[in-house]
Symmetry: C2
Subunit: 232 residues, 2 copies
């Protein structure tokens, strides 16, 4: 098969202690979409070192919030394809969440890079999953926008620098405001991604993929977790 269409260029930011399902739920839907649609994927990190999921492990030593957990080494490693310095242009950028976002110092290069990319006229969609929104909020470029985020971490996200300028919506599985798509916690990122696939390719395609994933989706305004976590 010869690809005659122009590919959609997706980039996902990855960093230590990003959450597994924040990344691989949306990526599973996109992997399936990419079988029939010409797309490229870059995983963009600070450097080319393997990235530890759900834990921060540097030179083999656990760091950060989960270093004193019962299982400080319980992780998986994924490989970046690009760094912030050499990442190509993107049509879509996805930003997963995770406890790694709490490390304000080590995530500053992500915030700086996202701030630059928010000004890129080629960027058509900026999408955050879970507490990935805290990284984007810190750029100051979410000011005046409607958005949502992880429900267990809602108050923390609202507390980061510049987050007070965002209109945070408590009860929403995901929120769309112009080119900015933001989802609630973890699994909600996959519902948002399926909705984005519907937006681009129609409901038959998003439903085909959802059924291949045997995935139970919530609607945009269906959010039982806002109530569970007391952020009504």
């Amino acid at each position: 098969m010869v690809n005659t269409t122009i590919p959609i260029r997706l980039g996902m930011v990855i960093y230590p202690a990003s959450t597994a399902l924040d990344m691989f739920g949306p990526l599973n839907a996109l992997n399936l979409l990419s079988i029939d649609h010409n797309m490229t994927l870059s995983l963009v990190a600070r450097d080319m070192d393997p990235i530890s999921i759900d834990r921060t492990i540097i030179d083999g030593v656990p760091q950060g919030m989960l270093a004193s957990s019962a299982s400080p080494y319980f992780t998986q490693y994924i490989l970046p394809t690009h760094t912030f310095d050499n990442a190509p242009d993107f049509d879509v950028i996805l930003v997963p969440g995770g406890v790694g976002t709490r490390n304000l110092k080590d995530t500053q290069p992500i915030v700086d890079w996202l701030g630059e990319r928010m000004g890129d006229p080629e960027l058509n969609y900026m999408m955050t999953i879970c507490t990935g929104s805290s990284l984007l909020a810190r750029t100051g470029k979410m000011a005046g926008k409607n958005a949502t985020t992880n429900k267990a971490a809602f108050e923390w996200v609202k507390s980061v620098e510049h987050a007070d300028k965002v209109n945070w919506i408590a009860k929403a599985r995901w929120v769309v405001d112009g080119n900015l798509w933001t989802s609630s916690g973890v699994s909600a990122g996959t519902d948002m991604t399926l909705s984005w696939i519907e937006h681009l390719h129609g409901r038959n395609e998003s439903e085909r993929i959802r059924n291949l994933m045997e995935w139970v989706a919530l609607n945009q305004t269906d959010d039982p977790f806002a109530e569970y976590w007391g952020v009504v």
Copy 2:
């Protein structure tokens, strides 16, 4: 913190073109569980090369069923921790599915290894997700057992060697038969994992983790995808 408990030793098989969410849905739940419970994780593969998700890419060249897709290079890479030759003893083995299972020749070492491990008296749980069941069925050691598998691929799984000796249950999100736990496709593996966490640690713990994941779970006998895929 000093760990004074004996860890539960988990091993997950990984291989080229295994499905992202088959692995990282269950692993997300287990990553959260491991914060409070002493556990170890090994990712076991044929060799120590990085593993391409959802696509088979060998020496940079796409192979197999998706090599002629619109996006033959659309993948992510994860790192094994052990090979079949040096993997330690496990209490739990998890086997994800994916189109890579269709490559009968390259998956034969997985089948051989699973066949050996099924005879290990230390193994307390063998769990398959999606078409991971086809790898275990090929060992011949699922004979006479109740099991389920991916609904879109149900007829294919039933067609592999020795699968005719298994009692395949069409309408089930997951099935438990003794120490054998088998789930339906992709997302169903996470429902099964949450149920296994409930089985070990009680419903408060499984619900705590489900709500942290903002995950919508189906019950064991709730399976709308059996009807969708016509395997009633």
